[in-house]
Symmetry: C2
Subunit: 411 residues, 2 copies
């Protein structure tokens, strides 16, 4: 029986894995350029850490089981909760203002569907310990730079202030509909029309006039001085003013935000937001009884890879530049091919040696199949002149030259 991977889980073949590695490496580089340091937490945690943290619905999506030592354990569901544990556990070793990034896989026992997987990569970046607008602006700056450094400088950051939203919406709450329930409906304005959102609010229990007024007031709410200040600072930190858009109805579904909230969109990529974040000053206290203000974001890694790929920003060829063929089974032939490969590698040129003695046609076919751009052939005549033949696969052009000249051309 042919074994398969589990539904909702993915294998990555080289072409896709190279792209993902490229994006992850670019993101890490940007994060470090902005002073963030990498950390890692385990894949498994005590289930008691994970359960009851994300809401009842989400609890059902946490992979939990009993291990052989009768401990209830669970797979990483997000990076925020394990990081909260991490901050509490190592607070004596961590600086007061701690910037960290984390790129790891998380697990959700969700129904798999297009673009939704049971194991996927999260990419989080946060500043812990500061309540200042500088920290908010620093987070916007690194968020923008992460995309810009990938070539996605068209990224638009939509911004709002959760405090403004709370102040505007609070007057509309009734006994059965709290402000977060209203926020969750407002948050759907991205996908639903205004009448549809009003309908939803009415279904929840609001009067038709209240629901309508509530939407009008949110749309007309004025920018808070806090948000103005953050935006100004983000511009000083290099985010182009035109890529920062105040969006009074941006709500973000999660309850825990306390100040600035934001979401990123790439205009050329219409699937949806590539992640976002905001300030959450009480979450760590609520979760872990660890008082620590925070501001940060999570990037949708899959969508970012997809967007960058659609725009042709990711490597499509393998890193291997040269396939060294083996001309015949004579020891001289094999040795000269191996030595040539070694010289190329020492010069930093990614090189594969065809492992078998086979017809040159078959060896060229492998280069073609693997999309390796150059092939080296070293027959008796080349050896006699201490040279090699370099064949460029796309043009078919062949040149006989010294190995040093090959290195000069390709390095």
């Amino acid at each position: 029986m042919q074994q398969q991977n589990l539904k909702g889980f993915r294998d990555f073949l080289p072409a896709e894995k190279r792209k993902r590695d490229f994006v992850a490496a670019s993101m890490s580089k940007t994060f470090q350029k902005y002073g963030y340091e990498p950390i890692e937490t385990p894949t498994l945690e005590y289930a008691s850490l994970l359960l009851g943290k994300y809401g009842l619905e989400a609890d059902k999506l946490v992979y939990t089981f009993e291990d052989r030592g009768e401990r209830q354990v669970g797979l990483r569901y997000d990076q925020t909760v394990p990081t909260a544990r991490f901050l509490g556990q190592y607070q004596a070793q961590l600086p007061k203002y701690f910037r960290r990034y984390q790129i790891q896989n998380v697990f959700r026992a969700d129904k798999p569907q297009a673009g939704r997987f049971r194991e996927f990569t999260q990419c989080d970046c946060d500043i812990f310990g500061s309540t200042s607008a500088v920290a908010d602006a620093e987070i916007l700056a690194v968020y923008y730079a992460t995309f810009a450094d990938l070539g996605l400088s068209s990224l638009v950051i939509e911004l709002n202030d959760r405090e403004t939203l709370l102040a505007t919406l609070s007057p509309f709450t009734i006994t059965t509909v709290d402000v977060f329930s209203i926020i969750q409906s407002i948050d759907k304005l991205d996908k639903l029309s205004e009448p549809e959102v009003i309908d939803e609010l009415v279904k929840k229990g609001l009067q038709q006039t209240a629901a309508t007024a509530c939407l009008v007031q949110v749309k007309n709410s004025t920018i808070s001085s806090n948000l103005k200040d953050i935006v100004q600072k983000a511009i000083s930190l290099g985010v182009p003013a035109e890529n920062l858009k105040i969006h009074p109805t941006l709500a973000r579904g999660l309850d825990y935000y306390t100040g600035m909230i934001f979401e990123g969109k790439i205009p050329e990529y219409t699937v949806g937001s590539v992640g976002g974040g905001g300030r959450y000053n009480n979450l760590l206290k609520d979760l872990m009884d660890f008082d620590c203000p925070a501001v940060g974001f999570g990037i949708g890694f899959d969508r970012t890879v997809e967007a960058a790929d659609q725009l042709g920003l990711l490597p499509s060829a393998p890193s291997t530049q040269v396939l060294v063929t083996i001309f015949d089974e004579s020891p001289e032939s094999i040795t000269s091919s191996l030595e040539a490969a070694q010289q190329l590698r020492v010069a930093g040129i990614a090189t594969e040696v065809f492992p078998e003695v086979d017809k040159i046609g078959k060896q060229l076919k492998l280069a073609d199949q693997k999309k390796i751009p150059y092939v080296l052939v070293i027959g008796e005549s080349e050896r006699a002149q201490d040279q090699v033949t370099l064949k460029q696969m796309d043009t078919g052009e062949q040149t006989q030259l010294h190995i040093e000249a090959v290195i000069e051309r390709l390095a």
Copy 2:
């Protein structure tokens, strides 16, 4: 209650995580230089794939559970079995001679002890599809280069031929002691003395004279022509001859090797082998009914990081080079600091902005705590001259200069 990580699982703080990332990036670079391509398989697989593949004892160490869809699933136990599935599942898309590397975490429900964890990183590199000595030599070459590129060029590769070992030991088998049982005892010569190994063989059922003779014959066995050929080719591929040592009693515990076997040791690092491998032409057929010869290795990632670290080869400082302080709460002060940070970052200099307005002494303390080597101070007098003060933390030296001069000095 303060939550903790699970026993046998690790958190990595920035200092350690940076080192691990450095080693993983270096290994990936070397693998690619030798023509290997990255792949990834999921953390979870069907339990039926994982169980019954590693032996009865190992089956107990596989983390398995029933998911919410009543599927029996398991956590990645090694990379070989999921890769065997991968090769079978995607054979139509993969080239005949496929070189892949994989750096992922694996899970073992083992008793945690010094240097043994329940989640740890494996680093595998293999060539699939070829039985040639060139493939064996290519594997030795990339194995050596992986360590040499990290600065561990003293690596000694101990080599043997499983076929020679089988031929030498087969005459000594008796009904109750098969050749693999003898091999497993011989494999302990690294940790036990010869009399101890002889004792073990006698306890297994061999006659004292047979056990003694068996050891003598293994020690005096001649090098196979296959192994001579591989070594010669590895030397052509750049492995120094003195780093390749034929070791007639090297046995490697696993049953499945069919030809060359090897193990790497770093002389300055006495904890033990840093991994090894060999040729295994039948394993994929046995596992997955997929006929595919293979040769490759697994590197002990933790030990390699530890060895490289002990030899001072890994970065000890954070990547952040500059902490930009904020002199006072005036908008001019804040703006000039933010703009300076942006200029440094555009020049590729890793920079953190102190997020709060605080005493300069406290800001310097953060740089000290985070081991950031330079601090930028921009007070009123510096601003008046369009300059900044650069303080070098280790010497205490302060220089007032233009930001462009800072960039020239640090970029």
